[in-house]
């Protein structure tokens, strides 16, 4: 089977999606990025091919995106994660309607994208060098509370009593704030809820700059955290659409772009 | 054709205007000697007090024609007012307000005073924005008076009665055209005060005062008298009929103010108005110095019958400033 590949080299994990000619996802994987971007991406790619029993020659086109996109010299095309995310989100939610707003939380960034009628990326916002309110923030919280990131959602819904209020969105300042909250005897659950709302507030402030319209698509690893989703929904007072595998949307978008670029080149050739 | 347009756009409008004004000046002051007679209803100060002018000023006739009893308005005499205005317009439409900037002998004289001042290296004076706005109104008051007073001679004003014939041609009595232009015929007789009646004395005295102010004012302030000129006010009513136009393309304007600096009349809108195409204000005398001073390609244009005959060009600007 001939496939198109999209690879999203993010700051925390490498996501790979393979699609077929009719734009269906054939296979996908998520692996940690680690410190050697290039080697780890190639390894992840290789193991996915082996797992799915696909030959390298069957890959018609490979598009890379994400923070480390330029390092992957093997890619036929590099594309920014904002465009890839918009394309992926539009396609993923096709069955329920037209996506107008995309919220993405990555390992070290926070993005809001507004799509125009045709699904092109219209306006977008992104945090600058500060990693406040990103996946890093959740990781730090989990580490400080001696738990893992995927347990945070569970803790969120176990809250009995009042949530703690976290005023700081800065990852560095928030850490000391959490420690002082612990020292004052606040519950872990309360702190987690506080952290979720703190991130949600920052997201709301950021994406209000581009205007919020339904359908709102929420993706990236942290979108798997149900507690965070609830917090964001409450802050925006709107419902969010979460795809089945939220972390691979951008890689899926890259694969879709790979397919369309391949066809365009075919036409020209 | 292209070469001609280029030549015209690069030309120094100052020099062209200087010579045009001299020719116009001589035709108006001495035209009669060469049997030149361009009409009785000229939209410029061609003073009838001159020996043999090349034409006569519309305003004098207008004042005479308005010495008219109300019941005679619908009559042959009333019709004369309309026909005279039509004659006025027949001349006016060709040059529009450029009659002031290129033909008017009083205007030309003032420009010569300015030249002398510049040669002497003496700085000019200017009105402040506020004063400017106040002074602008005077010409309309004068225009109203030069029609109302003649009406007052022919008709009885309740409580005052009819004005005496000494009030005749009131504007001419205070116009510097009457006192100054005959000097070019060697005639100084208008520079006197007429003591024959109280009214005449007051009027001729005012005329002398205006003449004094005219000399002093025009020396320090460019086109000093033109702010007060009722002819300019009258022309402005008909400016839409003019075939010669000054137009501005506001989208090309950077508001650099070069045109405003060049404007002898100190019209702010020329630089600040980027909305209106038609930029001619009541004080404008269409000298087109602003067009010559504009560095933006095609921002200011002179059109005749909607055809551009002169426009601002970068090259022209550069050539002229060198």
């Amino acid at each position: 089977m001939k496939v198109y590949a999209g690879i999203d080299i993010g700051s925390t994990s490498i996501k790979i999606v393979l699609i077929d000619e009719s734009e269906n996802i054939v296979a996908h994987s998520t692996n940690p990025t680690g410190a050697s971007f290039h080697k780890n991406s190639m390894d992840a790619f290789q193991s996915l091919l082996e797992r799915e029993n696909i030959q390298k020659a069957d890959i018609l086109y490979l598009a890379s995106t994400g923070y480390g996109r330029k390092l992957l010299k093997e890619a036929d095309e590099t594309i920014s994660e904002i465009t890839a995310n918009a394309v992926g989100a539009k396609k993923s939610a096709e069955k329920i309607g037209t996506v107008k707003t995309v919220i993405n939380i990555g390992g070290q960034d926070l993005k809001g994208i507004s799509l125009d009628e045709e699904g092109n990326c219209g306006n977008f916002v992104m945090n600058d060098k500060c990693a406040a309110g990103t996946g890093r923030f959740l990781e730090m919280t989990a580490r400080t509370l001696e738990t893992s990131v995927d347990k945070l959602g569970e803790l969120h819904f176990n809250l009995k009593g009042v949530p703690a209020s976290i005023n700081s969105t800065c990852t560095v300042f928030a850490e000391s704030e959490i420690i002082s909250l612990l020292a004052n005897g606040h519950s872990h659950e309360g702190i987690v809820v506080g952290v979720h709302y703190s991130i949600a507030k920052r997201i709301a402030r950021l994406i209000k700059r581009i205007g919020v319209e339904d359908i709102i698509f929420f993706d990236g690893g942290p979108a798997m955290n149900k507690g965070l989703v609830e917090a964001v929904e409450n802050e925006l007072m709107r419902e969010l659409y979460i795809p089945d595998v939220p972390q691979i949307t951008t890689a899926f978008g890259a694969a879709l772009i790979a397919r369309s670029v391949y066809h365009e080149e075919e036409v020209h050739a | 054709m292209n070469k001609i347009t280029k030549f015209v756009n690069n030309a120094s409008i100052k020099r062209f205007r200087f010579w045009f004004q001299i020719v116009a000046f001589f035709i108006i002051i001495y035209g009669g000697y060469a049997a030149i007679e361009i009409g009785e209803n000229l939209p410029t100060f061609a003073c009838p007090y001159l020996d043999k002018p090349g034409g006569t000023c519309f305003l004098m006739g207008l004042q005479h024609r308005f010495t008219l009893p109300f019941d005679q308005f619908i009559s042959f005499r009333g019709l004369a007012i309309i026909t005279s205005i039509l004659f006025f317009l027949a001349g006016f439409v060709f040059l529009n307000k450029a009659w002031c900037g290129y033909v008017c002998p009083i205007g030309t004289l003032q420009d010569w005073f300015t030249k002398i001042r510049q040669k002497l290296g003496i700085r000019y004076s200017n009105y402040s924005e506020k004063k400017f706005k106040k002074l602008k109104k005077i010409k309309y008051i004068l225009l109203a008076l030069l029609i109302l007073i003649p009406l007052g001679i022919a008709n009885s004003i309740p409580g005052v009665g009819k004005l005496s014939h000494d009030w005749g041609v009131p504007f001419c009595m205070v116009c510097p055209g009457r006192t100054v232009l005959p000097i070019f015929n060697g005639d100084f007789s208008q520079l006197t005060i007429d003591f024959s009646s109280k009214t005449k004395m007051v009027f001729t005295f005012l005329g002398m005062a205006v003449t004094g102010m005219f000399f002093a004012g025009a020396f320090y302030k460019k086109r000093f008298f033109c702010f007060f000129c009722p002819m300019s006010a009258f022309q402005f009513i008909f400016k839409k009929l003019g075939l010669l136009r000054l137009v501005k393309d506001g989208s090309k304007c950077t508001k650099c103010g070069d045109c405003y600096r060049a404007c002898d009349m100190g019209i702010r809108e020329i630089a600040d108005d980027v909305e209106n195409k038609d930029i001619v204000k009541d004080d404008c005398m269409m000298c087109f110095k602003c067009v010559a001073a504009c560095p933006e390609e095609g921002c200011l244009k002179v059109n005749f019958l909607s055809k551009t005959i002169y426009k601002a060009t970068e090259e022209g600007f550069y050539k002229r400033t060198k």
Partner: protein, 433 residues
Amino acid sequence: MEKERIEKVKKHIRTEAALEAGQVLKKITDNFPDNPEGMKYFYDLLSRQFSEEILPKNGKKLIGTMCVQVPDELILAAGAKPVRVCSGSFPYDNAGAEFMPAKTCSMIKAIMGLFQVEDFREKFDMLVIPTTCDQKKKTTEILKDMGYEAYSLAMPSRKDDDNSRYYWQNSVKEFAADLMKKTGNKITKESLKKAFDLKNEARYEFRRLFKLRMKNPAVIYGKDAFLIANAYFTDDIESWTAALKKLNDELEKKVEEGFSVANAKVPRFLFTGSPPIFPNMKIPLLVEEAGGLIAIDEVCSSSRLLYDMPSYDEQGLYDMIPAIADCYLKPCTCPCFVPNEERKDKISNLIDMFNIDGVIYQAFSGCQLYEMEQKLIGNFLMKKGVPMLYIESDYSPEDTGQLSTRVEAFIESIKMKKKSSAAKKEENKKDKK
């Protein structure tokens, strides 16, 4: 001992600054093909920025200036050399950060760092700083405190009424008088006329380049255009004009030959906001390396610098000096003025004239005026239907990763829009047939 240590630190900063300038120049020259022959002069000049040979010889006084509003003509007429000292250097920015408040903009910090590290007290006879933004205003006092001869050139905050106009004219007149005292040379109408002509010649060439940049496909990159204007900061005006004339001739020939640096499909951008000053070419380079083209800019370090031409009506100082003053006030689109509708008009005109697909708006963090005016320009552009990318940044290279993602996404979105609008046009054509 202490003195030696300080000298060592200064030397280190100087080396770092030279290194940075070298690296940026290398990027500018090596990462792009077909650099024009005529650009060599400017590359070379910038590599020697603020070195001894740039400073004037034969006893000419040196007057440092900041901001575009300082009338160079007067300085030239007084027989001195004007040098604009606004700096774009990150090492000097760091040096300035040591004693300036944290929220100061990078440019101010870099200027202060430069004047702290390099002992310019002997070299500059005067530093002229207009009262544009609050940070520049206070800079004057701090420089004075450091022992510099700093001169505050009073500017009004408005430019649309006569009060401000006369206020500014008077302040320029006073400046002319003070310059005469400082330099010991008289400004006469002859010397001013000469300075006028010199600067107008420079402006004429600058406008030629401006028109060349309108060509689509483009003949010159935006990065080069920035460098040309930057070179004007320190160069002798005659040699700068001559070098630009040569470059313009070369480019005109290239246009005739059908040469271009970017095809007509490349998205064309207008750059506005805080000024990129060499070596801080971070954003322009990001844009052009990612496949965009900065077709034109609206910044005080480039197209605002030499565009507007003054003209006077009467040749006498009483008319010439106010004419110069007017030219530096009325058309200026610095956000330090209220109201500043002219900036919107100008941006809008440039967009139409240069076939612009998108606007890139840079604001230095800490530059309140540009940060705040961003909203106004953004709203205006939204109504006009031109997309804008707003970037808040400073001189440090640490945010390049994030910035390149944003810049690339912006370029991609414009490419997509162009593609779909081109497709629509095709369809319309077909329908008509």
